[in-house]
Every structure is written in C-alpha cells, then in structure tokens.
C-alpha cells in the first residue's frame, strides 16, 4: 500500500469513535477466536478424561486459578497474533498495523509493540484520547488502519499467512469437537443391518389387498377406507390447501409489497403487519400447524391437515408473491399512472400482468410441496394417506407399509412431473 493512499485513509478516518470501534471489534474477534480454542481444548480434555482415563466417572474441573489463567492466556495469544502479522480479527474488519507512512513494519517493531502493550495496558497508560493510536502504538510508530488490496503486491497463498493457518486450525478443531459433540456412531449401521433387512424384504413384497377394498381394521374407528380412497383424499387435500392458500395470499401479497403500498404511514403499517404475518407464520412449520389444528378441530381429521397446509401456504406463497411484486419493472406502473390510472388500476394493469406467470409457477411449486407434506401430516393427526402409513407401521405390518409407500411414491412422482411440465410451459 502506498504512502499516498494511507494519508488519504488517515484523514478520512477522522472519526475518533470509528477508530476506537475498529480497534475494539478486531481485538474482541481475536480474543474470541482464542476463547473458542480454549473451549474446545477444555471439551476435548473432558471428553478423553471421561472416556479414556481410569477415573471414568470423574469430571475434569479447573482449580480456582484456572479460569483467570484461561482469560489471561487467551488475551496473551490474541495480542501475539495481532502484533505478529495479520490476525483473523484484523482481516475480518479489513485493517492492518502499518507505520506512519503506511508501509510494512519490521519484526523488531512488532516485538516492541508486544512488550509495550504489556506495560501500557496493565497500567491503563493506553491514552486513547490523546491521539488516534494508544500509547504503545505511538511509541513504536504503528497504527491500525483500514487497508485495501495492493495491486502492486500479489498476496501470498492463504495457508502461508497467519490468518490462513489459524483458519485451518480452527476448522480442524471444529470438526474434531463437533464429531465428539454429536456423538454419532456409524457402527450401528452395520450392526443392526440384519433387522432392517427383514423389514426391507417384507416391504418389497407389498400387500395390495386393501388397495381398493376397505381395510376392516379401521372399522374399529368407525371409518372404512382403502389405500386408493386415502390417496385420492391426500391429493385433493394438497390441491384444496394450495388453491385456498393462493387465493388468500394473492391479495395480501400486494399489501406486503413496498412499491405498491407507497410511503405513507398507513402504507407502512399495512406493509409491516402483512410482512410480519408472513414471516411469523412461515417460520412455524406445517407439522407444527398440523398438531395445533389436530387439537383444535379433531385428531386425524382431513380438516386439520388442510388448515395446517393452508396456513403455511398462505405465508410462504405470500412472501414469494410479495417479492415478485417488489421486483416488477417500474416503467409500466409509471405509464398507467401518467395515463390517469388510480392506484388499483396500476396494480391491475401494470403489476399483475408482469407477475402473473411467476405467480403461477410459484403456486404449482407450492402444490408440489403440499402433496409431499400431506403424506406425512398424518403423523401429527392431519389425516390423509399418512394415517394409514403410520397405523401399519406401528402394527409392524410391513407388507402393507410397503404398499402405501409405493402409492405415495407414485403420487409424489406424478405430481412432481406434472407441476414440472406445467412450470416449463409457463416459463
């Protein structure tokens, strides 16, 4: 980096608070990197103490001076990393230590900085408010400045730099600790394969006895249905939920679009409420809505399933629609406005013609999702073919489970194909 541009940067960063924030944030990041390493080390120590050590019931506990030591050690490591090269924290903020002219600093100065830091920080002789740089930096003549890539000097390979090595180390540490934390054991896959082979064998000899004939088992629940009955119910559940959801989401989506609602206070309010509704209701999954409506309107009823699918469809489609409305080109809106059209006419004749094809595509896509969801919504009492699936599964009647699964696969595959072809035609 040339001295000239450093001078420009120096004068531009006149805001004392920004300088302070840059320092504090990059230091905090560096400290937290080593804090994370300390956490991982403690976890690993504990883990191997617990599983390997003879004293397997004991837990490794730190002595009373242990935690202050960890804090001091991480601070120390952070300071060394910051001074000797470019640390992760500095890189994340885009700053580096440079001399007054903006050039690179020697190792001697770097070591001097570390030494002086240990004098000035414990003595609170930092002196932030007397200059741009703290006391220890001013003495060795360095400063933390934002830098941009120097086109004259190509960067070294990432792994040859400090941040690259630390990043690699952190990545490896995370994999190691992560593996231990989730505690998965792939041996089970092999050990219990025999049991599964039996189930697979039974499922692959599907029992289609009750494909069209009602299964008498369900007469206990005063119901009589066959696989085909429930397959049809499931498909129509998905279809009705999609249509209902789209019909409700369509008008709402214009209320949730910034460019249609304008910038008046009522416009802001409507936008905020509708968008908030979309976000909250979308973040609650269909399965959770299913369990709510199952309690509300009856466990195992189709209505619960349809309501659950509809609510989530309204929120998900509404958000997708709104984003499409916000993405329309403003030209036609301006043209209708200029021809004396009202706000409603602008929506009807400039916005809707632009968004309708993508609305159709999203609706078909949602239908696709709803068909897949409707096969499992019975898990929480939403009705449909899943009702049968989970009943047979709980009975351990695997040939019948196989038959239901095959029907579900056929439905999902067919719907996928149809909606895919229709979307192709629209786009």
């Amino acid at each position: 980096m040339s001295g000239e541009s450093a001078a420009v940067v120096g004068s531009a960063s006149g805001d004392r608070l920004a300088v302070l924030a840059r320092r504090a944030l990059s230091f905090f990041l560096d400290w937290m990197v080593w804090g994370y390493v300390a956490y991982c080390v403690m976890y690993l120590l504990n883990h191997y103490w617990y599983t390997v050590h003879v004293d397997w019931w004991g837990t490794l506990t730190l002595p009373s001076w242990g935690w202050p030591l960890v804090v001091l050690a991480t601070l120390e490591l952070a300071v060394w990393c910051r001074s000797l090269g470019r640390s992760l924290g500095q890189r994340a903020i885009g700053v580096a230590f440079q001399d007054a002219a903006g050039g690179r600093i020697t190792v001697g100065r770097r070591l001097g900085r570390i030494l002086l830091w240990h004098i000035s920080v414990p003595l609170f002789a930092v002196g932030f408010w007397r200059g741009w740089d703290p006391w220890h930096d001013r003495v060795v003549g360095v400063g933390l400045r934002p830098i941009s890539p120097d086109p004259e000097r190509p960067g070294r390979r990432a792994l040859a730099t400090q941040w690259g090595m630390v990043a690699l180390f952190l990545g490896a540490l995370t994999l190691w600790v992560g593996w231990l934390i989730i505690g998965i054991n792939f041996q089970v896959l092999a050990r219990r394969a025999a049991q599964t082979r039996r189930i697979w064998g039974e499922m692959l000899r599907p029992d289609f006895r009750y494909f069209t004939a009602p299964d008498p088992v369900f007469s206990l629940r005063a119901l009589s249905y066959s696989i085909l009955d429930l397959a049809v119910v499931t498909v129509f559940m998905a279809l009705m939920a999609t249509i209902l959801g789209a019909v409700i989401a369509f008008p709402l989506s214009f209320l949730g679009a910034r460019n249609v609602m304008g910038f008046s206070p009522p416009g802001w309010a409507a936008y905020g409420i509708v968008r908030g509704f979309f976000n909250v209701f979308r973040s609650i999954e269909t399965i959770i809505w299913g369990s709510i409506f199952a309690v509300w309107v009856g466990y195992g009823t189709t209505l619960a399933g349809i309501l659950a699918l509809t609510v989530h469809t309204v929120a998900a489609l509404g958000k997708l629609y709104s984003e499409q409305v916000e993405g329309v080109s403003p030209g036609p809106l301006e043209a209708v406005w200029a021809a004396g059209g009202s706000r409603v006419q602008v929506v009807r004749h400039a916005v809707i013609p632009q968004v309708l094809p993508s609305f159709w595509a999203f609706t078909l896509y949602r239908w696709d999702i709803n068909v897949r969801m409707s096969t499992v919504i019975a898990l929480v009492g939403g009705g449909g073919i899943g009702d049968m699936l989970f009943y047979y599964k709980n009975q351990g009647d695997w040939p019948k489970v196989g038959a239901v699964v095959i029907v579900i696969v056929a439905i999902v595959w067919a719907m996928d194909y149809i909606s895919g072809r229709l979307r192709e035609r629209i786009a």
């Binding site: 030209g331 043209a335 021809a339 059209g341 013609p353 632009q354």
Partner: protein, 262 residues
C-alpha cells in the same frame, strides 16, 4: 433569462423548483416559461440537467417542491390526487424505455391508455368497451402495427415498441403530449419515423408537444421552439435557428461536438 408573458399561454411554468430529499440535489431551480397551444417545444440539455424531472412535474408524476404550473388556466400543483387524475388523462406521455408491459400484447398495452376514462369496476375486471377496442385497433393501424395487435410486446423491436407507446398515448386523445427522450433508445432511422408520428400528432391532432431530446439536429428539425436546461436552470429559450455555436457550447459545455442525426 427573463420570462416574458405571452399573448395566450396554454401551459405556464412559474418559479418551478424541485429538490430531491436525499443529498439535497437541486434538480430544477426557479424555472419559468410558457407554452402556447399547438407548439412543439423541445427541451434539450445534458443528462442530469433536469429534463425528465421537468416533464414529470408537469403531470405530477414527481411532486414539485415549489412553484406553480398552470395548464389551461388551472394550477395543477394544487389539485387533489383525484382531480389530478382527471387532468392526467388529457396528458399523454411517451417514455425513453417505452414503459410497456412486456408480457402483455400490443393491444393490451394500448388499451391501458384508456384507463383514465374507465369506471373503476370495469377497469378492475379489464372489460374495455367495444368502442375502446376499436379505437385501439385504429390507433395501432395509424402507427402501422395493426398486424401486430395480438403479438406480445417482448416480440417487437425497439421502434415497434415505441410506436405501441405512441398508440397508447393516442388512446388518451391528448391535449398535451409529454415525450421523455422518446428516441434515445432507438437507431437514427427509427428515430425519425417516431419523431414524424409526434409531428403528426402536433400538426394533425393539435396536441401541444413537449419533448426532451438529446440530439440538437432532431430538435432543430422538429421543434417550433427550444428551451435548454443546464443544472436545472433555463439557459436558452427561443426558436431553433437561434442556437449558434456559442450557445451550443454554453448548453453542452466547452468540449462538446455537435453530432448530426440523419
């Protein structure tokens, strides 16, 4: 430039100023001029000199910060939104980027020019009266696109799209036609054909045309009067032949060269 009152001005712009809120940009500074009925007024100036802002202030697509605009004796800056819409339907507008709905047909776009005359519920359903459909076809015929009426606009060329834009403006039976750089996105040959339609609307239908143009040669060829803007201020107001080389340099800057469009 001192503004002198006219005998019977049709459109009067008085001390028009527009400040954009963000960044305190002065788009128009104390602009005053008048236009007589039936004039073909050309607005010239560099990009960013305020041409588009001026045109959009006249039909209040952009709200002026201060100043008055009198159209046929009515101060349009003080009208309510509902009254303004009734005024707007008599002001046709043609845009640089055509502003057509690409996924709609040519006739669908042309019919939107009629929206200001349509009662609310009919417009909502998109039921245009038979007369409007016939009028739309007649206007497409007039711009030579009768055979493209049911073609989607994204299938048309730039010149054809602008002609659809002209047909849409014709649907309004406009008394004033605002053309915001109508030929900037077109090649020179097509530019002349579009400008000739504007000229025809001016001479034949008696519409007062206010067009902003980039090329001085087009302005000289079609305008009955030229005004020039520089940094939002009026720097010239007069007949086309009054712009000499010195005036040209004043409007476009010292380094500018005049480019001829044939």
């Amino acid at each position: 430039m001192v503004w002198q009152p006219m005998a019977n001005p049709y459109l009067v712009v008085e001390h028009l100023t527009k400040v954009y809120e963000r960044g305190q940009v002065l788009a128009l500074r104390d602009l005053s001029f008048a236009v007589e009925k039936g004039e073909f007024l050309v607005v010239i100036g560099l990009s960013g000199s305020g041409k588009s802002t001026l045109l959009r202030c006249i039909n209040r697509l952009i709200e002026p910060t201060s100043g008055k605009i009198w159209l046929d004796g009515v101060d349009v800056t003080r009208l309510s939104q509902a009254r303004m819409r009734r005024v707007r339907r008599r002001i046709g507008m043609i845009f640089q980027q055509f502003n057509l709905v690409d996924r709609s047909t040519a006739i669908g776009n042309v019919l939107t020019g009629r929206l200001g005359y349509l009662p609310g519920w009919r417009a909502l359903l998109g039921w245009f009266p038979k007369e409007d459909r016939e009028k739309a076809l007649a206007n497409l015929e007039r711009v030579g696109l009768r055979d493209k009426a049911y073609v989607r606009v994204d299938q048309l060329s730039g010149g054809q799209r602008q002609r659809v834009g002209i047909a849409r403006a014709l649907m309004q039976d406009p008394e004033v036609l605002l053309a915001d750089e109508p030929v900037s996105a077109l090649d020179p040959a097509t530019s002349h054909s579009i400008m000739q339609y504007l000229e025809q609307m001016n001479r034949h239908d008696g519409a007062t045309v206010i067009a902003s143009l980039h090329f001085l040669s087009l302005a000289r060829r079609y305008g009955t009067r030229i005004i020039a803007l520089k940094d939002g201020q009026l720097v010239f107001d007069g007949p086309p032949n009054a712009i000499d080389n010195a005036k040209f340099k004043e409007i476009y800057g010292e380094d500018a060269e005049e480019v001829e469009v044939r």
